[in-house]
Subunit: 155 residues, 2 copies
DNA sequence: TATTGTTATACTCTATAACTATA
DNA sequence: TATAGTTATAGAGTATAACAATA
């Protein structure tokens, strides 16, 4: 047999599948690739991609509360607990009491947290530069602004 | 108190967060929105988004095998079993024996399967038209082609 | 030796609902 | 009444590893 069975099925090239015309499907495929490659780039015992995101906001907005952070990231408060637990266990940030509201806690990045974040951000930039090398810088900017437009419409 | 606590944190507008400059993060946020909206559009007892994708390929490439389908969708063979089980339970396709290879099975869409698929595809188009109304048709095309470029680089 | 379909299993990420302690 | 943090739980979706049947 010189050709495998599935060569008989038209795929990416030639035949225009319905799915390829849908933003949702293309979004999913691209997301899976970028996400899993970024996870690998962050290392076996490195941060998860979501912990990276949370740390990013915590470093840039020190003393933010978990509720505010969950709103910025667009996830539920309950989901953030495990993420902050992980970051705290790694010594990258602390939950500290706030004067004036004993319900809330301020997320305070440690020195190690800021350092780890800068390293991870550098990793992220290198990972995107390499993985998205088929896109020009201008195309990457267009892509980002189109993706952000989708979010703007969110209710 | 006239302003809530998190209004003190710059968010989408004004402050340029690190995350907003990353394709990966923007991809994730957009994907979550489109995915969950599409799920709702498909209805409570409707197809899952992944079953919709599998059915789409099965209808367009009748008699495709599960292995070939999993390769086209970019998922593992093992993950496809439950999806095909579901589609078969709904009476939308059949697993039928192939002459010449007793390992493989051909996926054959039923009449109901083809009809359900056309309805779901119509739903998908309406869902995208409404959810992505802030993007022009040209922008949607650019977005799709940029997302496909990411996939082209896949190893 | 390799491939097809399958099972068992685990992992990641997410959401909902309910609770407590505060406000 | 409403909010902050938390727990318990469940639901999608994914992957890896192994197996039997077949090529």
């Amino acid at each position: 047999m010189t050709k495998s069975n599935d060569d008989r099925h038209p795929d990416a090239e030639g035949f225009q599948q319905d799915l390829e015309g849908l933003v949702g499907y293309n979004l999913k495929r691209a997301y899976m690739i970028v996400q899993s490659d970024f996870r690998i780039a962050l290392g076996v015992d490195g941060l998860s991609t979501r912990a990276f995101s949370a740390l990013s906001i915590a470093v840039q907005f020190p003393n933010i509360t978990q509720s505010a952070l969950s709103r910025i990231l667009g996830i539920e408060r309950s989901g953030l607990v495990a993420i902050v637990d992980d970051l705290e266990a790694r010594g990258l940030l602390l939950r500290s009491r706030i004067a004036g509201d004993r319900r809330a806690q301020a997320l305070v990045p440690t020195v190690a947290g800021k350092k780890s974040y800068q390293a991870a951000l550098d990793t992220a930039h290198k990972h995107e530069k390499s993985l998205l090398s088929s896109l020009t810088a201008a195309e990457r900017e267009v892509l980002i602004s189109l993706l952000q437009k989708i979010r703007k419409n969110e209710d």
